[in-house]
């Protein structure tokens, strides 16, 4: 019996336990609602099924969460412009591929140009945010609020207020699937982003530096690590991720819909990071945790949809979850709990 307790304690103590537990919980609740949840078939040469759908749709969020994790870890702040930046990236890509027209049946410019432009646009937005936060020392929240509002407007301007359609089969592939490969493409893209990021963090000192700056920026400086540069880079990277995610999202609907691409995804990204066991105050982070968090949220959304909740209404539940998680992380709550506990113990002693 003791060995079991020790094992359970060790298991629950690992960093990824809580995120995995939440994921499993949500997947199971999905199973209860939809008994065929885990069933996988092949339709039109592509994997098909509820669980596939979850993994597929979560890809946009996974990519965003990777970028958000960096920002949170390095600066203890959040970037709420990511949804808007996705929209901008999608608009830029479609504008270039459509050559300025509203709807096209073939690429007006090379595909690769559109892709690069979108990614570059994302990075540019990241530079803007990074400049405000790292150099001008403005609170991340407020700094990113600017693009949060202006971003979609800019996207609208780029697409001349219309939705630009790219009715080209190869464009849709990014958001759907490549012929001959049964796994939907977004899943690959998400996987690729995660792996590349992981390599970047390990093969350069970026991962170490981000954590160091996030945990103790004064000590970092004394050791010769330039905190403001690291923070700036984290925002640029987040913008890059938003750009890639915007490409995938745009590809799904083979268009640039400035109003709807990435809508409400910023809260999801923050939630994913928090659910992944990462502290929203910065410091040590787990990329895998955020990824698990992203899949959990998508699965949660699916559960809610199955219960008849509409996309407009889902934010209520997510807001509640965010508040609970952040409240639990707050030091004040821990202090209050301690005071309550010592009060009770003192009461016991006296009695």
């Amino acid at each position: 019996m003791n060995k079991l307790i020790v094992f359970v304690k060790k298991l629950t103590g690992t960093r990824l336990f809580l995120p995995l537990f939440c994921l499993v919980l949500v997947l199971l609740s999905n199973l209860i609602k939809t008994p065929t949840f885990f069933q996988v078939t092949i339709k039109n040469g592509v994997l098909y099924g509820y669980i596939i759908d979850v993994i597929n749709r979560a890809s946009d969020l996974v990519i965003l969460s990777v970028g958000m994790t960096m920002v949170v870890a390095a600066s203890g702040g959040t970037d709420i412009s990511v949804g808007a930046v996705m929209s901008v990236a999608g608009a830029v890509c479609c504008y270039i591929l459509a050559g300025g027209l509203q709807t096209v049946n073939e690429f007006q410019n090379p595909y690769i140009l559109g892709v690069l432009a979108a990614v570059f646009a994302g990075m540019l937005c990241g530079c803007f945010n990074g400049f405000l936060v790292a150099k001008m020392k403005i609170q991340p929240m407020v700094a990113t609020l600017i693009l949060f509002t202006a971003g979609r407007g800019m996207a609208q301007l780029i697409t001349r207020g219309q939705i630009t359609y790219i009715r080209v089969e190869s464009y849709k592939m990014l958001g759907a699937s490549i012929p001959g490969i049964p796994v939907p493409t977004p899943v690959f893209v998400a996987l690729l982003v995660v792996i590349l990021t992981y390599v970047l963090l390990k093969k350069t000192t970026l991962g170490l530096y981000i954590q160091t700056v996030g945990i103790n920026s004064r000590a970092s400086r004394l050791m010769g690590i330039k905190s403001s540069r690291i923070i700036f880079l984290s925002y640029v990277f987040c913008g890059l991720c938003a750009g890639v995610s915007g490409l995938v999202a745009s590809s799904r609907i083979y268009s640039a819909d400035a109003n709807n691409i990435g809508l409400n995804l910023e809260l999801d990204a923050i939630l994913a990071v928090a659910l992944g066991g990462n502290s929203l105050g910065g410091g040590k982070f787990s990329l895998l945790g955020s990824v698990i968090g992203a899949y959990t949220i998508q699965a949660l959304s699916t559960t809610l949809y199955a219960m008849g909740v509409s996309p407009d209404q889902i934010p209520v539940y997510k807001a509640i979850v965010v508040v609970i998680i952040v409240a639990l992380q707050s030091t004040e709550l821990k202090k209050m709990a301690k005071r309550f506990q010592t009060g009770r113990e003192a009461g016991k002693r006296v009695a």
């Binding site: 170490l208 954590q211 050791m223």
Partner: protein, 506 residues
């Protein structure tokens, strides 16, 4: 001057987990008296003040104040205020965006028909300032005035609210000489009005200039209460350091650190930083261990930080190993071969959540650059080497450094810098808060480093420790380097004399 006692603290004791902060301490303050409260690190000064002002509660003893019957136990600063005790801190606790008048009266603004009467408030503020001989526009925002004036406003507020006991906690640290004079004029004025002032400070000269009495604490216990003009400076220094100043029994330096005559590693000329450390010259040679000695607050850390670039200096030139070096940020110093172990290891040293391994290799990694990370295996080897070398007690190299004891954390930071193979290593209070065994290990290590040809700067509040390791000493007092002691002069009495300044026996 009336001699009635306005505040009496008797046999006050307080413990924190693992340490006796106050051990049956007595303190007496009389009306119209300026009384200095002095002591080195861990003496108990701040705890005594906190207990008096209600920030902490004491465990035994009695506090009596004029006008209040029985034992006065304050549970909050507001309660202390109500009893007539006000405190003004070094960081002026006023609001920079509000006007002077408002800062003086906020929370107790004069009202008319339920709303704030600005006209009356401004007038009352003006009158208060005039009565203290301060002539300024009370309607301007606080931040438009210098720190010195802001402090006086804080004092005026404190005095206006309760005029019995005024505690000034390190008020002169950020003031220049002129401003200090203004402050003293204000203090003397208050003194003549019968206010009792407790002046917590470490500036020797100022104590002798304005204080009537001095109480010295050490390691939580009362050393004694003295009349200022009857206590020679050297005696004061001796009492603060817990030594006996005895012309005859001069304890000579022990240990093998010798003054070297090797090449110049550090050649600093005129380096200084406004408000922190006055410009100084300093030369350090290969294999030397130069100690910085002086009382707490004399500018030792500030000097070290100005050398290393932790706080960018305003003036001066630095040559390292004969080459001129411009230090704009710590990385420049590091690339020139310097290393710095900060005084505050918790806030500036350890990266708490990261492992021992990460903490050890960080500085060397920063030198290598972002695109050449150490491989995992290399990191592990380096970490193991220094864990072994310094005998760092840790479960394994992946343990988060916050789990280690203070002494072992310090060893990790030391290891981090040794890994960079520096030519010049600055150690600021490397043995503070560490067990005796580890202390000795670190002292021996310092001597060993000097034998290997490294230059070391060693800052410590403990004289024996310095005597055991240093081959030379620079003496600081009141934010300035005032002299040096060579090998033959290194003994306790000389050190105390140099720190005390003035003519020893006066």
């Amino acid at each position: 001057m009336p001699n009635e006692i306005v505040l009496a603290m008797r046999s006050i004791s307080k413990t924190f987990p693992g340490v006796q902060a106050l051990d049956h301490v007595d303190f007496t303050l009389r009306r119209g008296e300026i009384h200095a409260l002095m002591g080195e690190n861990g003496a108990g000064k701040s705890t005594l003040i906190k207990v008096l002002t209600g920030v902490e509660e004491f465990e035994s003893g009695e506090i009596t104040i004029d006008g209040f019957k029985g034992n006065m136990i304050n549970h909050s600063p507001q309660e202390a205020q109500a009893h007539g005790i006000s405190t003004v801190y070094q960081e002026v606790n006023l609001c920079p965006n509000l006007s002077v008048a408002e800062n003086l009266f906020i929370g107790r603004e004069p009202k008319r028909a339920g709303i704030i009467d600005w006209k009356t408030m401004n007038k009352k503020a003006k009158d208060l300032m005039e009565s203290l001989d301060i002539h300024i526009d009370v309607t301007r925002a606080l931040e438009n005035y210098s720190i010195a004036l802001q402090q006086m406003f804080a004092i005026a507020r404190a005095v206006d609210m309760s005029a019995k006991v005024l505690i000034l906690d390190e008020p002169t640290s950020s003031l220049d000489d002129n401003e200090v004079e203004k402050l003293f004029r204000l203090m003397n004025r208050l003194k003549s009005e019968g206010v009792g002032i407790i002046f917590v400070t470490h500036f020797l000269e100022q104590v002798y200039e304005v204080c009537d009495k001095i109480t010295v604490l050490r390691n939580g216990a009362l050393v004694g209460e003295y009349v200022t003009e009857k206590l020679p400076r050297v005696q004061l220094v001796a009492k603060m350091m817990g030594k006996d100043f005895d012309d005859l029994a001069a304890i000579k330096k022990s240990g093998e650190a010798k003054e070297r005559s090797g090449e110049l590693v550090i050649d600093a000329q005129g380096i200084g930083k406004q408000g922190t450390i006055k410009p100084y010259d300093l030369k350090v040679r290969k294999g030397e261990v130069i100690g910085l000695t002086g009382l707490l607050g004399s500018g030792r850390s500030e000097l070290a930080r100005s050398l290393y670039g932790a706080d960018k200096p305003d003036s001066g030139a630095l040559k390292v190993n004969g080459r001129p070096v411009s230090v704009a940020a710590p990385l420049d110093a590091m690339m020139a071969g310097m290393a710095y172990l900060p005084e505050n290891r918790k806030e500036e040293g350890i990266v708490a959540d990261l492992s021992v391994r990460d903490n050890l290799i960080l500085a060397l990694q920063a030198k290598k650059g972002m695109f050449r990370p150490f491989g995992r295996k290399e990191q592990e080897e380096l970490a193991d080497k220094y864990i072994e070398l310094l005998q760092i007690k840790t479960a394994n190299r992946e343990t988060p450094v916050k789990s280690l004891s203070g002494g072992n954390q310090q060893k990790v930071i030391l290891g981090r810098w040794l890994l960079t193979d520096p030519d010049f290593l600055i150690l600021d209070e490397p043995t503070r808060g560490i067990d005796v065994g580890t202390k000795t290990e670190i002292q021996k290590l310092v001597v060993k480093l000097s034998e290997e040809g490294k230059a070391v700067m060693f800052i410590s509040s403990e004289v024996e420790e310095m005597l055991r390791t240093c081959s030379r000493m620079a003496v600081l007092r009141d934010g300035q380097k005032v002299g040096e002691l060579k090998e033959g002069e290194l003994d306790q009495n000389n050190i105390m004399k140099a720190i005390a300044g003035g003519a020893g026996d006066e």
